[in-house]
């Protein structure tokens, strides 16, 4: 089947990219000495640079491959992801970015433990970070598997597993060598390339169809088994009352999850102050709007030119819509470029995730829980690097297991987890003075726990044809995405636990400090806390 281009060409474009970015990472990291350099690039990036990197962090394989694939397969229902992921940045802009920048240094744990009892809260924050990052990483790895399968025409499960492992190892190398600065530069390069790539494809498609989205959608509908119905809502979700509820639940996770992802939150520390943090979200929002407008065109374009059946039959399934379209309109060279960019995306995002997870373990668990805030910085960084290797290994295993699932869907689970564990806790701790340690622990563990349990007993894992374990059935929770239950539950847990417990003793001064710093941004440098 001549849909995959030339594997040698694909590989060489990819290899060139890896070499160039590795060189950049190496150059950027010449002085990765202090913990601040490693975790937060010494706070040295501008708002614009960080904004592009921020969007780079989110323009993952899930966004590019998953959403264009989702639209190519399910039309309107795939479009929901795009809308949710644009609107979601407002949560980050209005509620989180500046307060977070002003009250923490390296990790989410810094902010959550600011005015609480340090050890239990930091341990809880680190647990949440590790679980969320792990789920998110599985999604990226599964995307890598699909892409590799398509590019190199590797169809055997073992071959794909080997390639996933290889990708995982390269990404750990990025983190070990580059730290936050190197990772940020890779994100910037990749985000720019990705944007160029999608806008070029979009311009081409619009040109081909006489600047009419309607014309693209019309031809798309002709190439889908559902016909014109694919342009209306319901192609994937609309069949029963329960699946409609699932759709709403998914939508909620999409909009509330992004600004709660640990690796996105950590990005706010790479800028020198809150004004730059705000500026970076504004940049990220613009980038997102352009990107998702393009994926809408690309998704329907793939449906129109490649056809849903061909996409579904290709190695990698839905996730291969964009690369297949690239081959259809630009031949092997464009396919090579698109695939290299998609690959780079996975590498860069996974590197960011690994960094967030390892920072959380080293800074929160090792330095503050085990060493009680008295760790030597060099040792702390060594622990962080070691954690990066362990996290990388785990995600390789997870990615091999989840190979073949739609990556945008897998990401939505990570988003549900993030929104459940982090969002309620961050908002309470920044804006609610009465909030205390007991409330913090309940809202983190309540949200995280309920979300995990519901995923475990949902159709995602067992009991249906498309489950990860299709042969067994222990599902009793009917929704594929638990957000609609677990997110409100974590808000409730945090509220009730706080009301029913005593305020923290001796923390009034810290609470005042946190409030002043979060809102006014003064006393941030040289302040206590973190």
């Amino acid at each position: 089947m001549p849909t995959t281009g030339n594997p040698v060409l694909n590989l060489s474009v990819f290899a060139v990219f890896v070499l160039i970015t590795l060189y950049v990472v190496y150059r950027a990291s010449s002085r990765n000495v202090t913990a601040s350099d490693y975790y937060a690039a010494g706070g040295s990036f501008t708002g614009a640079q960080n904004g592009v990197a921020l969007s780079g962090d989110f323009l993952s394989a899930a966004s590019f491959l998953g959403i264009s694939g989702g639209i190519a397969a399910h039309g309107y229902d795939g479009f929901l992801y795009s809308v949710g992921w644009v609107v979601a940045w407002l949560v980050g802009l209005l509620l989180i970015a500046e307060g977070l920048r002003n009250t923490g240094r390296f990790t989410v744990g810094d902010v959550l433990a600011f005015r609480m009892r340090q050890r239990p809260v930091r341990a809880a924050a680190a647990n949440a970070t590790l679980v969320i990052s792990f789920f998110y990483m599985i999604a990226q790895m599964a995307g890598a598997g699909g892409l590799v399968a398509l590019l190199l025409d590797v169809t055997s499960k073992w071959g794909q597993a080997l390639l996933i492992a290889l990708v995982g190892m390269i990404m750990v190398a990025y983190v070990l060598i580059g730290g936050m600065k190197g990772t940020t530069w890779v994100q910037i390069i990749k985000a720019v390339l990705l944007l160029l790539c999608v806008t070029t494809m979009t311009v081409f498609l619009l040109g081909k169809f006489g600047l009419s989205l309607s014309a693209i959608m019309q031809q798309a509908a002709e190439n889908n088994e559902l016909g014109a119905a694919v342009l209306d809502p319901g192609a994937k979700y609309g069949f029963s009352a329960m699946s409609k509820l699932d759709f709403v639940s998914l939508a909620l996770s999409l909009v509330l999850g992004i600004a709660s992802l640990p690796h996105v939150l950590m990005r706010f520390y790479t800028v020198p102050n809150a004004v730059e943090a705000r500026r970076s979200v504004v940049w990220a929002t613009w980038t997102m709007v352009i990107f998702y407008l393009c994926t809408l065109v690309i998704g329907f374009g793939a449906m129109a030119l490649v056809g849903t059946d061909t996409i579904a039959a290709a190695p990698g399934g839905e996730n291969s819509a964009a690369p297949l379209l690239a081959f259809r309109i630009g031949g092997a060279v464009l396919l090579g470029i698109v695939s290299a960019v998609a690959f780079a995306t996975i590498l860069a995002v996974v590197a960011g995730l690994t960094l967030a997870a390892s920072a959380s373990f080293a800074h929160d668990v090792y330095a503050n829980v085990i060493k009680r805030g008295d760790a030597e910085p060099r040792r702390e960084i060594r622990v962080a690097r070691l954690t990066a290797v362990v996290v990388g290994a785990l995600s390789i295993i997870g990615g091999i297991a989840a190979n073949g699932q739609n990556v945008a869907f897998l990401v939505s689970l990570a988003l549900a987890l993030a929104a459940s564990a982090n969002l309620s806790t961050i908002l309470y701790t920044i804006f609610w003075r009465r909030f205390n340690t007991v409330g913090t622990l309940w809202s983190i563990y309540g949200g995280l726990g309920s979300c995990l349990v519901l995923i475990l007993f949902s159709p995602v894992l067992s009991g249906s044809r498309t489950s990860i374990f299709p042969d067994v059935d222990f599902a009793w929770f009917p929704l594929g995405n638990p957000g609609i239950v677990s997110i409100p539950f974590s808000f409730l847990c945090g509220f009730v636990a706080t009301i029913l417990s005593k305020p923290d003793a001796d923390k009034a001064a810290l609470a005042a400090e946190m409030e002043v710093r979060a809102i006014a941004g003064i006393g941030v440098k040289g302040g206590t806390g973190s």
């Binding site: 809308v83 407002l90 989205l213 209306d232 609309g238 409609k244 001064a509 710093r517 006014a520």
Partner: protein, 138 residues
């Protein structure tokens, strides 16, 4: 300025240190930063400037959050439960739902730019004012 009323539980000594009456030499700087150079956040929190800043911030971000979440959920709920309505064709085969979705893009940009402008004009100057008054820098 706020009227000099002690809060319950505060000793006269603390009260004087906070308000800066303990020293006649340099009351303005002593009020908000102690002898070790550590800011007195509780006192800063009580200033009119800080209260005004907090009010300006919260009266913008919370209603805006409510607004965009409502508009987003309206789009989602219409897509899920009013299928026929959003399937109405508007331009060619482009239906109302797609346009509503793209409308979310537009409102997101408007709110983002609006907040950026509001922060620059109403929040950042107030922060600067507070920093100057209290002598606590960023």
């Amino acid at each position: 300025m706020t009227k000099a009323i002690r809060s319950p539980g505060e000793t006269l000594q603390e009260y004087r240190e906070i308000r800066g009456f303990a020293s006649f030499d340099d009351p303005a700087t002593l009020s908000y930063v102690d002898s070790n150079g550590k800011p007195n956040y509780e006192a800063i929190r009580q200033t009119d400037e800080f209260r005004a800043l907090r009010r300006r911030l919260t009266t913008f971000i919370f209603p805006m959050t409510a607004l965009f979440l409502t508009s987003y959920l309206t789009f989602v709920l219409l897509s899920a439960y009013a299928k026929d309505f959003v399937s109405t064709k508007v331009i060619g085969v482009v239906n109302l739902g797609i346009l509503l979705g793209l409308g979310q893009f537009v409102t997101s940009i408007i709110i983002t730019l609006g907040y950026s402008r509001y922060a620059k004009r109403r929040l950042d100057p107030q922060r600067k004012l507070l920093a100057e008054k209290t002598g606590v820098e960023e």
